[in-house]
């Protein structure tokens, strides 16, 4: 038994025995890797390709026997799993960095197993950099989700906020020929949308989930209409913003593999690098964040000590909307270069899942978003290497993981106590 934070970041501690569910899940998954990918695996070779052809510094590809590689990785994973069991029995939670290493290992084993004997090998740079770029809208959406749920407002409208950001950034960016104006316009538009959610939920006490769902329907309706009635006829002038230039950071971008993946990106990615730690810092290390969390955990107590509950909620939800707008802009001017109908395609709902998976904590949420980004690109990539198992099952995995997390199979998941509950000032 040991004192453990009950709600992450709340500095409240209580005697809680860490659940054995996480370690057991890790052990079972490592056995799957060891047995199915290792012992019963494929006999051919895997080649991990580390460098782009354009790069100056070429790393040789890493070629290894599939069964051998997966057996080794499986064994390491099993050791981590057993370590985690031992930690749990002694009353310590499995640290997140250990789970991150575990996931990385499992990912390599999966990639290797899928691409055994594939001619092009495993293109690590392609996979990792796309994972990051595809995760960006999810991360910003997730941050928006954290910002509103931490103050006690459930935000189902992330999908609508992303779509608003995507649409406005593309249109304004094209009309003004300035992508930065487009970016700011996207943030403002999504923030305005959030004020509707905020005022209806906070002032008029309308059921938050219903408002969220309906705002999504409204944004889909409006963008579809504007796209077909206005934008589509004149897409050269209205929907051709292009994308931000890639800005390689000097020196850092020269690092093999990681430099290419992390430091040769568009501004939207760098904004994420700044925003996530910033949000973490504000939420957990400043007075402002403490107040916000107090409002989300126990509004009555917060009110008693003189915090304006309604105002706090309103501003956090609104600024969260601006962040989600940024995520929408990352879809268009940060990646694709034009707006398409309903292009957010459910990313906002995935962001909701990511918020839960990451336990309302910015860093963990980012890791969760990367997991989803990885599955999206994996689906694309796996179709090229024609793997032994249907791609649809791989697509399912992150959703199942989220389901298990929500159902409490993988550790405790506890939302802010007052999330979703309106507060009537007495």
């Amino acid at each position: 038994m040991k004192n453990v934070e009950v709600t992450p970041g709340m500095f409240s501690s209580a005697t809680v025995r860490p659940s054995l569910k996480t370690p057991i899940t890790l052990v079972v998954a490592s056995l799957v890797v060891l047995v199915f990918f290792g012992f019963l695996g494929k006999a051919g070779d895997i080649s991990f390709v580390w460098s782009d052809k354009r790069e100056a510094l070429q790393l040789p590809p890493f070629i290894v026997n599939s069964m051998f590689f997966c057996t080794i990785v499986g064994a390491v994973l099993l050791m981590i799993g057993l370590l985690s069991v031992a930690l749990s029995i002694r009353g310590t939670r499995t640290p997140v960095w250990l789970i991150a290493i575990y996931s990385l290992g499992a990912m390599m084993a999966l990639l290797g197993w899928l691409a055994t004997e594939a001619t092009q090998g495993v293109q690590m740079i392609f996979i990792l950099s796309n994972t990051l770029v595809l995760a960006i809208p999810l991360i910003f959406g997730g941050m928006a989700g954290i910002m509103s749920e931490r103050v006690g407002v459930v935000n189902i409208a992330i999908e609508g906020q992303l779509l608003t950001g995507a649409f406005v950034s593309a249109i304004v960016g094209s009309m003004t020929k300035n992508l930065y104006v487009g970016l700011i316009a996207a943030m403002i538009a999504a923030a305005l949308l959030s004020t509707v959610l905020a005022s209806l939920a906070i002032k008029y006490l309308v059921e938050q989930i219903i408002i969220g769902v309906l705002l999504n329907v409204l944004v889909i309706g409006v963008t579809n209409f504007l796209y077909s009635a206005w934008v589509d006829d004149d897409s050269i002038n209205l929907n051709f913003p292009g994308t931000f230039e890639k800005l390689p950071i000097p020196l850092l971008s020269e690092i093999p593999v990681l430099g290419q993946v992390l430091f040769n990106n568009r501004i939207t990615v760098y904004l994420m690098f700044i925003l996530v730690p910033l949000l973490w810092y504000v939420l957990f290390r400043t007075k402002l964040g403490l107040r916000a969390r107090a409002v989300g955990e126990h509004p009555l107590a917060a009110d008693t000590v003189g915090i304006n509950v309604a105002k706090t909620r309103f501003w956090w939800v609104t600024i969260g909307g601006a962040v989600a707008g940024l995520g929408g802009a990352a879809l268009t001017i940060g990646n694709v270069g034009s707006f398409g109908r309903e292009m957010s395609a459910g990313l906002g709902f995935i962001a909701l899942a990511v918020v839960i998976l990451g336990r309302w904590q910015p860093i963990y949420v980012t890791l969760g978003a990367l997991l989803f980004g990885f599955t999206i690109i994996l689906k694309v990539w796996a179709n090229q290497v024609s793997p032994g198992i249907p791609v649809d099952f791989i697509t399912m995995v992150p959703y199942l993981v989220t389901l298990l997390a929500v159902a409490g199979f993988a550790g405790r998941v506890k939302p802010p106590a007052a999330s979703g509950q309106p507060y009537v000032k007495g």
């Binding site: 329907v217 309706g221 009635a229 899942a353 839960i356 959703y399 009537v424 007495g426």
Partner: protein, 413 residues
């Protein structure tokens, strides 16, 4: 600790349910005003983004009457086309073609009504089931397997296929109920996740040659056409596309009405929806009620699935779901979760779907109907907006009572 939390949550929860009840008990005047305002704003959208109107207004100084009349004609063209496409075509040369639009509205409305009833049922129990999409997809898998892989005599084949859709969907819905009852997982997240899982699962099944993939099919996930013995037959002969799905819709409306208003089962559902703690105190097993409510709700979605899957021409793809699961939420909200309301809401949205094609032909983007639809439901669900717009008095008593109660409870604490 959990006990403490419950107490803190209580007043707020009561407040929330009272707002939900206000939405459900929507009076006809407010609904009519919401629909009207939705159409008015839709007209503004149509006019502002119409090229001929913009051109006419550019010459407003020289020809103001022209500018005003183009506005009128644009609105008339748009909503006129919606009317001809969904209710009666007065310009038609025969009776059959004149009333065909209305039968099309019925055809589009049937699955919306069935899935809408499912969502409405869970609203009455105080749950937010946004999993109709996934339940429809799983139901489609069941009915399509029966309809394409098994051989049975006519009519029996169709009934078995419908039954398969209902059972598969119910199992899918039960998962939500069990997870909610056993682990306390929030049904919104569970249903969203299950929607995606169902989509992947259905795509996989459509790819698998031993299960649903069409004969001689390749990489694209697509099934065969359902066997002729399993198809939902046409109701009024080959002149109309309306099929037996409508009969199932009518039966499910009657069943829903009986279940919710007349049966003890429905009484329990409503009781849990009004106040779960009171229901528990009265000896109702709230958890079991959740499981049953979600299962029966999914059964309605399964009927919608059968309606789609057994009337299709040229095989199924994943697009057969056609957004019905999501529309069902708006149908249930607009219909106030009552049988009659859901029918009217389903007919309105069915008319929107039926009228889209004629609006397209008339040169008006039918997407404007998506805006109208969203606005109407938003106005219904958020009574303060519509009250502010028409300067209606607040319903007062109910809300004040709830606030008072919340205050008192806080004081006691």
């Amino acid at each position: 600790m959990s006990k403490k939390k419950e107490v803190a949550a209580k007043p707020a929860q009561d407040k929330a349910t009272s707002v939900l009840h206000e939405i459900m008990a929507g009076d006809p005047v407010r609904i009519a005003l919401s629909v009207l305002l939705g159409f008015i704003i839709g007209a503004i959208f149509m006019v502002v983004f119409d090229k001929s109107v913009v051109k006419a207004w550019a010459n407003f100084g020289s020809d103001p009457s022209m500018a005003l009349s183009t506005v009128w004609w644009t609105i008339q063209d748009g909503y006129g086309a919606l009317f001809t496409g969904s209710i009666i075509n007065f310009g038609a040369d025969s009776f059959v073609t004149a009333i065909r639009p209305f039968t099309e509205t019925l055809r589009f409305a049937a699955p919306l009504i069935m899935a809408g009833l499912g969502v409405a049922l869970t609203f009455r129990v105080g749950l937010f089931n946004i999993g109709a999409t996934g339940q429809i997809l799983v139901g489609l898998a069941g009915s399509t397997f029966v309809a394409t892989r098994l051989e049975m005599p006519i009519i029996i084949h169709m009934l078995v296929a419908v039954f398969a859709a209902v059972v598969c969907a119910m199992v899918w819905g039960m998962i939500v109920g069990v997870l909610k009852a056993r682990t306390g997982a929030h049904e919104v997240i569970v249903t969203i996740m299950l929607n995606y899982v169902a989509l992947s699962l259905f795509t996989y099944l459509l790819r698998e040659p031993n299960l649903l993939l069409e004969e001689g099919g390749g990489g694209t996930p697509k099934s065969d056409n359902p066997d002729d013995t399993a198809r939902l037959g046409l109701l009024f002969g080959p002149d109309f596309q309306l099929h037996y799905g409508l009969i199932f819709a009518v039966l499910s409306v009657i069943f829903y009405w009986w279940l919710m208003e007349k049966s003890t089962f429905g009484f329990r559902f409503r009781m849990v929806g009004h106040n779960p703690s009171a229901a528990k105190a009265a000896g109702i097993k709230v958890e079991n009620t959740f499981v049953w409510a979600l299962a029966i709700s999914a059964g309605f979605s399964g009927l919608a699935a059968a309606n789609q899957g057994l009337s299709v021409d040229g095989g199924l793809t994943t697009s057969i779901e056609a957004g019905i699961g999501f529309d069902a939420i708006t149908v249930a909200l607009l219909g106030g979760s009552r049988a009659g309301g859901v029918v009217l809401a389903g007919l309105l949205f069915g008319a929107f779907k039926a009228g889209s094609a004629t609006m397209q032909v008339a040169g008006v983007s039918p997407e404007v109907l998506g805006v109208v639809k969203a606005l109407i439901v938003l106005f219904i669900a958020a009574p303060p907006i519509i009250r502010a717009f028409y300067r209606l008095p607040a319903p007062g008593i109910k809300v004040i009572e709830a606030t008072q109660k919340a205050k008192e409870e806080k004081v006691i604490k």
